[in-house]
């Protein structure tokens, strides 16, 4: 009786040793020159899961077609063709800001083919230089970039030498003041028209941002509230509209529309 009751235990030990050996080999041996399947030899500290980018709740209702100069909901990658992407700081060709359309959004994904974050000032331009009085409005969701902006009356072919109105907003997590800057850039030289020391925008949630140019008046709205406004005694005459951010990546744009009053 005793002999038969020990047998399963002995078998367990033998099989266990074989299993252990196999596991050890799998975990410690690596074929030369080949990347292994994921092996968590490095672990990150515990963080909350990455927040999910939910649906855009700020999508506008239908716009009157007579007022719309441009609109895009970035339904597919063909939407990219309507845009010109420029870097407003000096950049070499393979590090230019990279933009993609994904999940029905325009996404700033860093710079260059490697998609590294960069502090390049990145703009996405749309429209014609003849556009004069209009509002450019976008929904945006900032994951980790921290900077969002809009451009109006953009003129020029050399990004660092161009002229335009631009509003830049920083997130609440940015250690900067003021967090809203409305500026006029002439031939690449910036002058602040107005600024406010608000708390900035909250990251990881959807917002709407609008920049209106009407004659000499320039106004910025965040989520329907006027953030800052200015009157330019020597206004830029006309130009294209655009989105602005840094080429850090981590920011999504949706439902862009350019409308006239």
């Amino acid at each position: 009786m005793k002999r038969s009751s020990r047998f399963p235990l002995m078998m367990s030990l033998v099989v266990g040793v074989l299993v252990l050996g196999g596991l050890g080999l799998v975990l410690t041996q690596t074929p030369q020159g080949a990347a292994q399947t994921p092996a968590p030899l490095v672990t990150y500290p515990d963080f909350p899961p990455t927040p999910t980018v939910g649906p855009n709740p700020t999508a506008p209702a239908g716009l009157a077609s007579s007022n719309v100069l441009f609109q895009s909901a970035f339904a597919d990658t063909r939407a990219l063709a309507e845009w010109q992407f420029v870097d407003q700081t000096y950049v070499i060709a393979d590090l230019a800001a990279a933009w993609e359309v994904a999940n029905g959004r325009l996404v700033q994904v860093g710079s260059g083919a490697a998609r590294n974050p960069s502090s390049n000032e990145a703009a996405a331009l749309v429209g014609a230089e003849t556009w004069r009085d209009y509002t450019i409005r976008t929904s945006f969701y900032d994951e980790y970039n921290g900077v969002v902006g809009l451009i109006a009356r953009y003129q020029g072919t050399e990004p660092t030498q161009s002229s335009y109105y631009r509003v830049r907003l920083f997130s609440t997590e940015h250690q900067v003041s003021p967090k809203v800057v409305l500026e006029k850039v002439v031939d690449g030289v910036s002058t602040t028209l107005a600024e406010t020391k608000t708390a900035g925008f909250s990251p990881r949630t959807w917002h709407t941002l609008a920049l209106s140019v009407q004659g000499a008046n320039v106004q910025v709205q965040l989520d329907g509230q006027v953030l800052v406004a200015a009157q330019d005694t020597n206004p830029l005459p006309n130009g294209r509209a655009g989105l602005f951010t840094y080429a850090i990546g981590g920011i999504f744009f949706d439902d862009v529309a350019v409308t006239t009053p």
Partner: protein
């Protein structure tokens, strides 16, 4: 069957745990300090290096603040590797460049020189400068290369050889080499580069390796053989970027890079290892969205592998650091920066791997500034040697010495490398303390005796240095010892019969002494009539204790007696007994303390075994004490006693031997003889004061009343030898009035 499965499962679980659990004693890295360098406006691609326990940071800056994008100065900051703020800063040199293409890189040489290289992109120049070891002013900048748009320079140092690399857009990476003060190159990599920072590293025997990202986004390695670069593509195109490389003390190469995907098999951090730079083993360490610049890998002198990188985790771009101890496959759970978003980090290791220092662009500021983060690294890693003073003794005797031996244990070194050591009493060594060779085969050095008060503790600080790699042990190791520069002890040898007087019980004495009990207390302390002296040695405050005492005569080997509980008391033979003759017999006492210090004293002992000779005496008298005639002063005029050795002035006897008797006896030798010293009354008369008429008598004290006592007298020399002539006799009649004690009256 269920039991079978249970056992199997448990075994498998144990096996898994054994494979992936960190070694006990390891601890996860911890973020210790993090701050933004306030005047590092607009910088890009900061550089960092460390030497010993100092950290040097470099970056291009523009002090004009926000909105000014071009950089005008290559700047440096320094701090201690455990500090929480910058302690020093200085301009390295001027620059004129676009922020994104005007970066500063730094490296430290094994002697503490700090080298910087930077791109001044609008000038199309690569500059180079040196901060001499311990200095505060950078030398004038030198142009290494010019005429092309060059950026992301990196630098490595081996001895006095300098290796500088830089990128050019859609062009191979360039390497310039400075040997013996002369620059050569550029040497070009096989592949054109993608425009991210590359990495250059040096190793033992002048190994030089470069890691870089090819234009089609592969991670490539280039090994420099002195005249050209041999290239290896580690990943294939579109599989890797942002690499770095490091070489360990044995010449093994480590490369790290990131995958380009945000998840899956081609995402995350990768590590490559190669013993020869040609055949590489690579593996994915962790998957996920790693982006934001170089994956930094550094292997320290002890073989610990350190990794620093930035990654998008939980929606934030943070910096991460972890390490892997030698022989392990798993890294510790990474620690992170608290600030985000960060990117373009560089890392340095200090104090032999104990601290990792990460600098990165902090884009939570506008304009961006340098974020510095220190992580506690791998405890106990890096080179190390523990000093042991005087073999580990608690105290060391330094009497008459100029140096102390120090050996080293627990060596954590690379056996094939060359090492030096420096030391200092009381504080960690500095550059003022010279390095000296340390043999790994016989790791022992001599250090000078510290200038401290005897019996005070002194702490020796030592640091070893791997000359091959330049790695210096930090912090310094210590050992403490009590410095004992003298002996605090007392010892004497004396006439054994004098010593007997202080002994309460002489019954157990050796026969030779016991037979002489009658002469207890007699004699001069420096004379002895037998070949024995009384030795008393004891600790009188020596911090090391007293271990032994040795008696010798005239250089004889002597006899050593161990102290028990810091004391020795006993009757011991005169030293050099075989040659003993009557006369002066100086005894040298050598006391040795616990630290080995010795103290030597010579006592002029006289060995005298010959009795003095009585010739004549005037009439002795006895004068009663006025208070009690039981006490009598005995006076001996004109004593003529001669002795061969004893002399006190003109007197050649030390004292008298007295015996009371209630009757006249035929053989006085049977009486109870008691020795007593005499005092000189004048040049011819001596006296014994207050001799008790009952001394030595065995019968009960008689009641007061007139009676006669017969006092027999012999004369003693210094050694206690008594005259052999018929004793004198003094007949004393007294009333035996005892000594009275008058108490004061008490009023109630």
């Amino acid at each position: 069957m269920r039991r079978y499965l249970l056992v199997l499962s448990l075994l498998a679980l144990i096996g898994l745990s054994a494979q992936i659990s960190p070694v006990s004693g390891q601890s996860n890295p911890q973020r210790q300090v993090e701050f933004t360098i306030s005047n590092s406006n607009n910088h890009k691609f900061p550089g960092i290096t460390a030497y010993n326990d100092k950290v040097y940071i470099g970056a291009g800056i523009n002090s004009a603040g926000a909105g000014v994008k071009d950089l005008t100065r290559a700047w440096s900051w320094s701090l201690g590797d455990q500090a929480s703020s910058v302690s020093w800063e200085a301009q390295i040199g001027a620059m004129d460049g676009y922020a994104d293409y005007s970066s500063v890189a730094m490296a430290a040489s094994s002697n503490g020189d700090i080298y910087a290289v930077w791109s001044s992109s609008k000038e199309n120049r690569i500059y180079f400068s040196r901060l001499p070891s311990g200095g505060t002013v950078w030398e004038g900048r030198q142009t290494i290369a010019s005429g092309r748009f060059m950026f992301f320079p990196q630098i490595a140092v081996y001895g006095s050889d300098i290796y500088v690399i830089w990128n050019q857009s859609s062009h191979p990476l360039s390497l310039m080499v400075r040997k013996n003060g002369n620059w050569s190159g550029p040497y070009l990599t096989q592949y054109n580069t993608y425009s991210v920072a590359a990495s250059v590293a040096t190793g033992p025997s002048g190994h030089v390796a470069i890691s870089y990202s090819t234009q089609d986004l592969a991670t490539a390695i280039a090994i420099f053989n002195g005249t050209s670069l041999s290239n290896t593509n580690l990943t294939g195109s579109a599989r890797g970027a942002d690499s770095s490389i490091s070489i360990d003390a044995n010449g093994k190469y480590y490369a790290a890079w990131r995958g380009l995907d945000s998840s899956g098999a081609y995402s995350g951090v990768f590590l490559g290892e190669s013993s020869n730079g040609v055949n590489w083993s690579t593996r994915q360490l962790v998957s996920g969205d790693v982006k934001g610049g170089t994956v930094n890998v550094i292997v320290d002198g002890g073989g610990t592998l350190h990794l620093g990188w930035t990654a998008l985790v939980s929606g934030s771009l943070r910096g991460y650091y972890t390490y892997r101890l030698p022989g392990q496959s798993n890294f510790m759970t990474a620690a992170s920066t608290s600030t985000a978003p960060l990117f373009n980090s560089r890392m340095a290791i200090s104090s032999g791997g104990r601290y990792a220092h990460l600098v990165a662009e902090n884009h939570s500021n506008y304009p961006q500034k340098v974020l510095y983060t220190r992580f506690a690294g791998a405890p106990g890693t890096g080179i190390s040697a523990t000093p042991v003073i005087a073999g580990g003794a608690n105290s060391v005797g330094v009497q008459g010495k100029t140096s102390i031996s120090v050996s080293f244990t627990d060596l954590r070194v690379v056996q094939s490398n060359t090492y030096q050591v420096r030391w200092n009493w009381g504080s960690a060594p500095t550059d003022a303390n010279p390095w000296q060779a340390l043999s790994l085969a016989n790791p022992t050095i001599s250090v000078s005796v510290p200038n401290v008060t005897s019996c005070s503790s002194a702490t020796l600080y030592t640091q070893i240095k791997d000359v091959t790699t330049g790695l210096v042990e930090v912090p310094a190791k210590t050992d403490s010892v009590v410095i004992d520069s003298d002996v605090q002890a007392r010892a004497r040898v004396s006439n054994p019969y004098v010593a007997l007087a202080s002994l309460s019980n002489t019954d157990s004495l050796a026969a030779e002494l016991a037979l002489s009990k009658g002469a207890v207390g007699a004699g001069d302390p420096l004379h002895t009539r037998i070949a024995v002296v009384y030795l008393d040695a004891y600790n009188a405050g020596d911090c090391s204790g007293v271990s032994s005492v040795t008696l010798s005569h005239n250089g004889s080997s002597g006899e050593t007696y161990k102290l028990v509980n810091d004391r020795y008391q006993g009757f011991v033979p005169l030293p050099d007994l075989m040659n003993l003759v009557t006369g002066e017999w100086p005894v040298t006492i050598t006391i040795q303390d616990g630290a080995g210090n010795t103290q030597e004293t010579t006592i002029p002992i006289v060995f005298d075994d010959q009795a003095p000779v009585f010739s004549s005496v005037g009439t002795p008298t006895a004068t009663p004490n006025p208070q009690a005639d039981i006490l009598q002063d005995l006076t001996f005029p004109n004593v003529v006693v001669s002795d061969n050795l004893y002399q006190n002035g003109t007197r050649e006897f030390w004292g008298v031997w007295l015996a009371n008797s209630t009757s006249i006896v035929g053989d006085p030798s049977t009486l109870n003889w008691i020795s007593a010293p005499v005092e000189d009354v004048n040049s011819t008369t001596v006296r014994v004061r207050n001799w008790s008429l009952t001394a030595g008598l065995t019968e009960p004290l008689p009641t007061p009343g007139e009676r006669t006592t017969y006092i027999y007298v012999r004369f003693l020399d210094g050694a206690g030898n008594a005259t052999t002539a018929t004793p004198l006799r003094i007949d004393v009649t007294s009333n035996f009035n005892p000594v009275k004690v008058n108490l004061p009256a008490v009023m109630r």
